[in-house]
Structures are given as structure tokens and as C-alpha cells.
């Protein structure tokens, strides 16, 4: 039981850490980009490689802005 609790705590700390908005933001952006790619492949294919790093930077920015407050 102690091992399971420790294992779960490790993964929670690994994924969520002290900034839950990073984990939620990254999962959200990946799902959104995948849906965009599935719905509009002709538009998504040439733009995804630009959109993805911009979205990652935006998620980091939101997390830093929340830390400022």
C-alpha cells in the first residue's frame, strides 16, 4: 500500500508538480491541435509546426503570469 501511494505521489509530482496549469494547458493544446489536424488537414499540415511552439510558449506565459499574482 505504501509503495502504491509513493508511486502515485511520484507520478502526480512528475506530471502536475507545483503548476497544474502547465499539465492541463499542454494536454489541452495537444488535443486541440490533433482535432484541428483531423478536421482541417489541408490547413493544419502546413501550420501545425508553427502553431505548436507558439502554443507551448503561451502555456508557459500563462503559468508565469499566474505565479506573478
Amino acid at each position: 500500500m505504501r509503495f502504491i501511494k509513493g508511486f502515485a505521489a511520484f507520478w502526480y509530482d512528475f506530471i502536475v508538480g507545483d503548476s497544474w496549469e502547465l499539465a492541463v494547458g499542454i494536454l489541452g493544446l495537444l488535443i486541440a491541435l490533433k482535432l484541428f489536424d483531423s478536421a482541417l488537414p489541408s490547413v493544419a499540415d502546413p501550420t501545425l509546426y508553427i502553431l505548436m511552439p507558439i502554443a507551448v510558449v503561451a502555456v508557459l506565459g500563462v503559468s508565469l503570469a499566474r505565479a506573478e499574482r
Partner: protein, 246 residues
């Protein structure tokens, strides 16, 4: 060349984790990843490409690395900007040292699971990509002639991968000491950027992003995230200065 690129990526992660979390866990994690990969290759052999969905693995490992890299980068920016006090960390460090001192001698050599996990995943995914490259190239070539010795396609590709492994291991052994001289928070800053870049690349490949220049796109991602982190750091440093000015 393709194998060298993949192995350099795995080596970069091991070096980054080794410097920041300790080489013991990083090397054990990397070795365990290699053994797990070897077992999978032995069990599945040439049907590997049919049984393992590399895209699913890329999304899974890429997402974890991306989140983990961003967490480190965020902490490093907050510390460098003076928003996160280093005193708390020092307090935690003192508590940990006290706790470890109270433990039995065997506990002092406890595994750092964080370092182990990141190294394991890096080596496992990159190694899997090397296996895919060897099998794909190997099965597409009839035979390889090396001097007077003739090899099958898979044997030739395996030998090339082995030569790449030896070369990358030698380079890794040579550069790990100079890297250890860099201050800790600056190192975490750089490692955070690196893990974020690798995570973005892998997760992106998994969801269908077509990176221009293939693996070279990682270098572009490193530049983009370095600039973004630098801008964020400058912006955050200005806020307390303005508060003091008013």
C-alpha cells in the same frame, strides 16, 4: 548518420539528467531503458514495426517530457527573476540532509526516481527509433560489402548503429565533466529548455506535425524556447523593479 542523431538525443538527455540529478540514477535509468528495449527487440524481432505504434509512444513520452521540461523552465525563470526564493530550497535541502543522515547507510544510496525515469524514457524512445531505422534500412538493402566481408542488410545496418553508439559514448564521456562546472540554476534553465524542445518535437510528431528539416527542427525549437525564456525572464525582472520604483 540517422542512428548518430537519435543516439546524440539520448546522450543529451542522460547528460542533462546526470548533471542535475546525479549520474548514478541517470546511467541506471538509461541502462534499464536499453535492456527493456533489447528485450522487446528480441521478443518481437522484425515484426516490431507492425506491433508497436511509434506515434502513440511519441505522444506519451513527448507529453511527459514537455510538461516536465516546462516545470523546470518555469522554476528556473522564477528563481532567476527573484520571484522564487532560493531560501526555501535551502531549507528543503537541509531537511533532506538531516533525514538522510538519520537513515541507515544503505538508504543514502537511494535511487533518484525522477532522474531514472527521464533517462529511461529518453533512451527507450530513441533506442526504439534506432531499432526502427536499422530494421527499415536493413530490410531495404540486399547486402553490404565491407572489404572482403559481406553482410546482410540488417547485419550491415546493425554494425553501423553499433559504430554510432561507440562514437556517441566516447563523446559523452569527454564532455560530461566540463558541463558539471555550470551553476545549478543556469543548468536547470538550459535543461528545461532542452526537455521542452525534445518533448515538443516528439509529441508533435505523434499528433501529426510535419517538422521541416526533421530532427534539425529540434535546434530551431531550442532557439525559439531560449528566446522566449529570455524575454520572460527580462519581463519578470522588471516587475519587482517597477514596484520598488513606485
Amino acid at each position: 548518420m540517422a542512428c548518430i542523431v537519435e543516439m546524440v538525443e539520448a546522450l543529451t538527455i542522460i547528460l542533462a539528467v546526470g548533471i542535475t540529478r546525479g549520474y548514478r540514477s541517470a546511467l541506471i535509468g538509461g541502462a534499464t531503458g536499453a535492456v527493456a528495449l533489447g528485450a522487446i527487440i528480441v521478443v518481437f524481432g522484425q515484426t516490431l514495426t507492425e506491433r508497436v505504434d511509434l506515434d502513440v509512444l511519441r505522444v506519451l513520452i513527448g507529453t511527459l517530457l514537455l510538461i516536465f521540461g516546462l516545470q523546470w523552465l518555469r522554476k528556473a525563470i522564477l528563481r532567476a527573476a527573484g520571484w522564487k526564493s532560493l531560501h526555501d530550497e535551502e531549507g528543503i535541502y537541509r531537511d533532506n540532509v538531516k533525514q538522510l543522515s538519520a537513515e541507515s547507510p544503505a538508504s543514502a544510496g537511494l535511487m533518484d526516481w525522477l532522474g531514472f525515469t527521464v533517462s529511461f524514457k529518453g533512451v527507450f524512445l530513441e533506442g526504439l527509433e534506432v531499432a526502427f531505422i536499422v530494421l527499415t534500412f536493413g530490410t531495404s538493402i540486399q547486402a553490404v560489402q565491407l572489404g572482403t566481408i559481406s553482410f546482410t542488410g540488417v547485419e550491415g545496418a546493425s554494425l553501423a548503429a553499433l559504430a554510432a553508439l561507440v562514437l556517441v559514448a566516447i563523446v559523452g564521456g569527454a564532455v560530461h565533466k566540463p558541463l558539471a562546472l555550470v551553476p545549478e540554476n543556469q543548468l536547470k534553465f538550459v535543461v528545461g529548455i532542452m526537455l521542452t524542445a525534445f518533448g515538443t518535437f516528439w509529441a508533435g510528431e505523434g499528433i501529426g506535425v510535419e517538422w521541416p528539416g526533421l530532427d534539425l527542427a529540434i535546434l530551431a525549437l531550442l532557439v525559439i524556447y531560449s528566446v522566449a525564456a529570455w524575454v520572460a525572464l527580462i519581463a519578470m525582472k522588471r516587475v519587482p523593479q517597477m514596484a520598488v520604483a513606485h
